[in-house]
Amino acid sequence: MSTSPSRVALFITCFNDTMFPQTGRAVVTLLERLGVAVDFPLEQTCCGQMHFNTGYADETIPLVRRFVDVFGDAETVVSPSASCVSMVREAYGRVAQLSGDAGLARGVESLVPRVLELSELLVDRLGVEDVGAYFPRRVTYHPTCHGLRMLHVGDRPLRLLRAVHGIDLVELPEATQCCGFGGTFAVKNADTSIAMVSDKVRTILDTGAEVCAAADNSCLMHIGGALSRQRAGVRTMHLAEILARTKEDSEP
């Protein structure tokens, strides 16, 4: 691995930018606390995953081109979404191939290794597990499918959570089972998706946790949506938001 970066470009993702700005604020707070300067290129929009995975390959090509234009010069790109990073890492090569544009293919090939998911940046590149966070709550962690099986982030997020001061981290039964989100799957196959999230909610409630954490707000919006509908009294939080909390925060 190359040296620890002192400056990173943040790819917030369109979804977090619009729906979960608190996650982006937490990433900035956390990285700056660790001495890393954060850039946020305002021209960024969407990685194209929804288009690509729903079948709209042609519509994905300009989004990939845009991503490469916006982030091509960054030494390190970090994103608080395992799913969007896996889109970049696993599918961008294919999209570039479909475009028939050799320049885009070269741009993708050069950029992809520099795009990291947050826990990869923290553990592998910055070499930290204890980020100085304080969060005295009972938390359970759901490893999202794309982080687990496409990025292979392994136990990096758990190592970060275990090092949080005051945390009561409890294991989630059948943790590796999909929550049933799957992008447009949640709408196209709503009944099956609901059956899957019902079981996920059951295992979360079994832990007695107050917070369900994950490294993907898309899955958390799904799980959180079901918890909220059931008035289950459990909230969802992105990993970054827990890692950003310190003793100095008014509401830990």
Partner: protein
């Protein structure tokens, strides 16, 4: 294999999801087999290398499939067998029917075979007055109940012991009046029924797991031994084989005989591996026919991304780990091949028209790819088939497709994401447009195609400040 009138996956799934008995049976069965598989796979230190070998051998075979098949034909013929080539299911059924009729027989015994399910051989034979008896225990349960298989390996996985007891009591004269749901008693009842059939049958039919081109050796892998009865007792044996089942040599076969049992039944080795080479005087059938069937496989082969589906050795590990299959069961897929492998194989074998909802019957969680013993990247193929489906619909329906709500929305969003100005305007518009829907920071009911989300899930309201607004304010 799939009919034009088959309901779409979401429709069929809705019915299956409401069946509490089915959900319970499937949940129990898949969780048990998942845990067992994980344990026996963990025992093999070079499992990942074996998977890679399994993938590589298939890739090599598919690259020169024609040569391997001609080689197989020569070897089987040299060993005294007769090889037939069938372009599709209809041709296959006719060939098999002619052979049986040529022996003046109206009853045959069958070992479990997915390929003959695919061609609907039993129905075709029945039309010619030939009764085909299924002898695989689960397949027998399906046949007696006039049911459809719902799993590749365990066709009756959707039935529990009590349901099977009731079925046997109703349909088998060999069932004792006080039959219980003890598995031993159930198996004994089936055995008494099957024994008579095995001893009387003059023609047997089987599928093929692997065929070695080098020697012309054909192999069936199974658990019960009933397949071995079918392939050894009758005078005439007809084996139906998909053309992708050929392997070049015995060394290649060795790879799959390690991968298959651990992946399918979670056993270190399967109880029965039958291997035969043509015919042998005084031992086994006196006449052996091998029917090589295409039935769409060359279409799959022509698809650069999709062809990896032909690696499949029908282990069903992908079904057992699939969170969708676990909840809907196999019937919802409306196809001979259910689960993740069926969701990619069926649309490619039959053409997209009847099966176009199948590539969407997945959350792309990737559990199938992780366990596949021959490394079929099922999520990759699913997404590829979604691209093909959108392309095909656009070709077929033109402007009407481009104006469909989904397609129009996708194109509109692509335009929005192509411009920072439009994207930021859309963020502002979203905040404004949501106000009639928001109560206490949540959206509890969405209109139109998105209503499925709010059927059981709230949606957070779009917050008043986007991240980029915060960033701009800050700097």
């Amino acid at each position: 294999m799939i009919d034009a009138g088959t309901p779409s996956f979401p429709e069929a799934a809705r019915t299956a999801l409401a069946d509490a008995q089915l959900r319970h049976n499937l949940g129990h069965a898949t969780q048990t087999i998942r845990a067992k598989r994980a344990a026996v796979v963990a025992e093999v230190p070079d499992w990942q290398e074996l998977r890679e070998a399994g993938r590589a051998v298939k890739e090599r075979v598919l690259r020169h499939l024609d040569q391997h098949l001609i080689g197989l034909e020569e070897s089987v013929t040299r060993a005294g067998g007769i090889v037939h080539w069938a372009r599709d299911g209809e041709e296959c059924n006719r060939i098999v029917g002619d052979i049986i009729a040529g022996h003046g027989v109206d009853e045959v015994v069958k070992a479990k075979s997915l390929t003959t399910e695919e061609t609907r051989l039993n129905e075709a034979l029945a039309e010619r007055g030939i009764r085909a008896w299924e002898t695989d225990l689960a397949q027998l349960i399906i046949q007696l109940g006039d049911d459809m298989p719902s799993h590749i390996l365990v066709p009756a996985i959707h039935k529990n012991r009590e349901q099977i007891r009731a079925l046997f009591a109703r349909t088998l004269s060999e069932a004792s009046p006080d039959l219980t749901d003890d598995p031993r008693e159930l198996a004994e009842t089936a055995r008494r029924h099957l024994r008579k059939l095995f001893l009387g049958a003059r023609v047997g039919i089987s599928g093929v797991n692997f065929a070695v081109a080098d020697t012309g050796t054909v192999s069936v892998v199974e658990s019960e031994g009933n397949g071995r009865m079918c392939t050894t007792l009758p005078e005439v044996l007809i084996s139906v084989m998909g053309i992708e089942k050929v392997v070049p040599t015995w060394e290649d076969l060795e790879v799959y005989l390690q991968l298959l049992p651990r992946s399918s039944t979670a056993e270190r080795m399967n109880p029965y591996t039958s291997l035969w080479t043509g015919v042998t005087d005084g031992d086994g059938p006196r006449e052996f026919h091998l029917v090589l069937i295409d039935n769409g496989r060359t279409h799959v082969l022509a698809d650069e991304i999709g062809r990896q589906a032909l690696n499949c050795i029908r282990c069903s590990a992908c079904l057992n780990v699939c969170p969708v299959y676990e909840r809907t069961g196999g019937h919802a897929y409306g196809s001979t091949y259910p689960g993740p492998i069926g969701a990619i194989l069926t649309p490619m074998l039959t053409g997209m028209t009847a099966a176009k909802s199948l590539p969407y019957a997945s959350s792309l969680c990737g559990a199938c790819y992780e366990v596949c013993p021959v490394k079929i990247n099922i999520p990759e193929v699913l997404v590829h088939l979604r691209h093909e489906e959108v392309k095909a619909s656009t070709r077929a329906r033109g402007v009407r497709e481009r104006l469909s709500p989904e397609h129009a929305a996708m194109r509109a969003m692509a335009r929005v994401f192509a411009s920072r100005r439009l994207y930021e305007a859309a963020q502002r518009a979203g905040r404004l447009a949501q106000w009639p829907l928001v109560r206490d920071g949540k959206i509890r009911r969405l209109p139109g195609p998105l209503r499925g989300w709010t059927a059981a899930r709230d949606l957070p309201a779009v917050p008043s400040q986007s991240f980029r607004d915060w960033w701009r304010d800050r700097s």
